[in-house]
């Protein structure tokens, strides 16, 4: 009984295999551009990643529970847009129903939850493939942004939906605080709550989880609903940051979301990974984007460098983590 000790310690650090990558990026960034290490720039990085990080949080939970949700990226635009259109006048591109403006945030969250619930319904009740259901939903939900707006940007927004994404709390953008609190809650829930732990059991072996008395279907459904709600919140933050809802808000995010979750150690096969790991993944991606922007790499070659850095991060986390990935 002497061997176990080092193994345990390793296991605990497995969430943090990206920390050397983050340190490396900070050193490289500081070296390449003096602006990089300024508080202003680092705050910008965090603010820019706040919205997408909520998607990573949602996707990490869904992946850990052994499922998949591609449609989150469409919810980012559609949930706040439909909510806004419920309250603004026809002249500004709304439906002209004229519901009170303060309700726009609850509406948006509800719409996100409803999209998640519909995903969950199809996947769990009908036992359809999560990948393909949410792929179809990605297309459909985005259509529900494009259709009613006819491709136009909504820019006359009620003040309430702009607040969260643009306010400053204690000298930092509110979005950073919100993301931080939600990540802390996620780390706590998936580490210390029975419900959170049940995601690992379901993702690891759903028959065993069922046999152990976990209400697998109910928990999964809850995770999809929570995922949709977080995506809607991400949309609210993004709306506040940009001051308008464009027709492709959120479009194309999902690849980055998966990249962040997976290099952060969350397995695509379910049951493995942590929220803290996913957070490190988000930070790596944010720092890489920031550095590439600062040094002004040619737009044509930027993707190559970016992709190569993801690959290198993956290899480093493979070597540091020591286990084959899936």
């Amino acid at each position: 009984m002497t061997a176990p000790a080092p193994r345990v310690r390793l296991a605990r650090f497995r969430d943090l295999t990206l920390v050397p990558v983050i340190l490396l990026l900070i050193v490289v960034g500081a070296f390449l551009d003096p602006t990089f290490l300024t508080a202003g720039n680092l705050t910008n990085v965090l603010q820019q990643q706040a919205a997408i990080s909520l998607l990573v949080l949602a996707e990490a939970m869904i992946l850990i529970a052994g499922k998949f949700d591609l449609s989150l990226e469409s919810t980012v635009g559609t949930a706040p847009a439909i909510a806004v259109m419920l309250v603004i006048p026809v002249s500004a591109g709304g439906f002209g129903i004229g519901l009170p403006g303060v309700l726009v945030i609850p509406f948006a969250l509800l719409i996100g939850a409803a999209i998640g619930a519909f995903n969950g319904f199809l996947i769990i009740r009908f036992q359809l493939s999560a990948f393909i259901v949410t792929l179809a939903m990605l297309i459909i939900v985005h259509g529900f942004l494009q259709g009613p707006t006819e491709g136009k940007t909504l820019f006359e927004l009620p003040e309430s939906i702009l607040y969260l994404g643009s306010a400053m709390w204690l000298g930092l953008p509110a979005a950073i605080w919100i993301a931080a609190v939600l990540f802390a809650a996620g780390i706590f829930a998936l580490g210390y709550l029975r419900l959170g732990r049940s995601l690992y059991a379901i993702g690891g072996n759903s028959d065993a989880a069922r046999a152990a008395g976990i209400r697998v279907d109910r928990v999964l459904w809850g995770v999809f609903i929570l995922g949709g709600t977080l995506a809607a919140l991400a949309g609210i933050l993004e709306t506040g940051r940009l001051g308008a809802i464009g027709n492709n808000q959120g479009v194309g995010w999902i690849f980055m979301v998966f990249a962040a979750a997976v290099i952060g150690g969350v397995s695509m096969d379910g049951g493995k990974g942590t929220i803290l790991g996913a957070l490190t993944g988000v930070l790596v991606i944010g720092l890489v984007q920031n550095i590439l922007t600062l040094i002004g790499v040619s737009g044509f070659w930027q993707p190559v460098i970016y992709g190569a850095i993801i690959l290198i991060a993956l290899m480093i986390s493979r070597i540091a983590g020591g286990k084959a990935q899936d």
Binding site: D33, Q146, G151, T153, L242, N248, T293, G296, G299, F300
Partner: protein, 320 residues
């Protein structure tokens, strides 16, 4: 240039963000930028590229400011979602020149663009006349979520409805994709063999697939032939000119990539030097108009046909 007044001196670094790198038009623009910067002696910072993503645009602009930009040149493809950024820039007293698009909200120093609605109208008038006001035409639309695609599309359709009610318009949403354009055009021609006109929103992506479909159907014949389909394109890239010379297509609207680059930097430098402008005609054949949130220099976008296709002043004839 219209009327300019000297203000306090200064100068300073100009930050520029390119909107995308996946269309010929923007790539020509991107190539003109450093060249024009050299000619105009603009202190240009390394350009960023927001890859058609307004979130990236915002990040890039923040980075440029962080690095000390005094003027920003950008081409927001999403004209609504930059409102907050423009507000921030205004608060920081950093003037903004936008290229190609006109932001819906937020202060701009100068908008440098040709009118995309005018492109659609020009194409409509050209096809309407050629077809004698009756028959069927196809418009291969760009992405409807982009303002340019939407402007061209709406202007074309509205003009057809108003001026040529005898013409039926089929609108195909190609998302700027050649593959979709080819499939949709092929299917539509199968269904309506009597289609007589095509308006392509972007020669860069639509030209080759359209010609390939027409060739396969044996419809690539001179205007004198009954089977000829009149094709008008949009962009003004050299390949379109080549196709016009060969008689494969009939016209294009030349989008002035060189002038975009030149006047974007010209106004950026002017802003850095503290100059200001007033509405009115300019010395380069355009007009400055007043917007609620700034000024706009409407550059000319000539219609190119077989008659003027060899005109040296067209940017498409200067590309090497």
């Amino acid at each position: 240039s219209g009327t300019s007044t000297e203000g306090g001196g200064g100068g300073g670094k100009v930050g520029i963000d390119h909107p995308r790198a996946d269309s010929d038009f923007w790539n020509s623009y991107i190539k003109y930028v450093p060249q024009m910067a050299g000619e105009l002696k603009v202190d240009l910072m390394p350009a960023t590229n927001s890859q058609n993503d307004v979130a990236k645009l915002v990040n890039n602009v923040q980075a440029l400011i962080g690095q000390g930009a005094k003027v920003i040149v950008m081409a927001p493809q999403d004209t609504g979602a930059v409102a907050n950024t423009l507000q921030q820039l205004e608060n920081k007293k950093i003037p903004v020149v936008t290229v190609d698009t006109r932001p819906d909200k937020g202060k701009v120093y100068m908008v440098v663009r040709a009118d995309n609605r005018a492109y659609g109208t020009k194409a409509c008038e050209f096809l309407g006349e050629k077809l004698g006001g009756k028959g069927k035409v196809v418009q291969l639309q760009g992405a409807l979520s982009s303002i340019n695609g939407r402007d061209r599309s709406e202007a074309f359709s509205e003009c057809m409805k108003a001026k040529f009610p005898g013409i039926t318009v089929f609108s195909e949403p190609t998302e700027w994709e050649g593959s979709k354009a080819a499939s949709m055009l092929q299917t539509r021609l199968e269904q309506n063999p009597d289609i007589k006109g095509i308006y392509m929103h972007a020669g860069g992506v639509h030209l080759a697939p359209t010609l390939q479909v027409l060739k396969q159907k044996g419809l690539l014949v001179p205007p004198t032939d009954d089977k000829h389909i009149f094709v008008i394109s949009n962009d003004g890239i050299p390949q379109e000119f080549e196709a016009i010379r060969k008689g494969d297509i009939d016209a294009t609207v030349s989008q002035p990539a060189d002038l975009y680059a030149k006047y974007a930097l010209f106004y950026a430098k002017a802003a850095a030097d503290g100059k200001s402008f007033k509405p009115g005609p300019t010395d380069h054949g355009s007009t400055i108009i007043q917007l609620p949130n700034g000024l706009e220099d409407q550059l000319p976008a000539p219609l190119v046909t077989k008659e003027n296709v060899d005109d040296k002043s067209l940017w498409g004839n200067q590309v090497k």
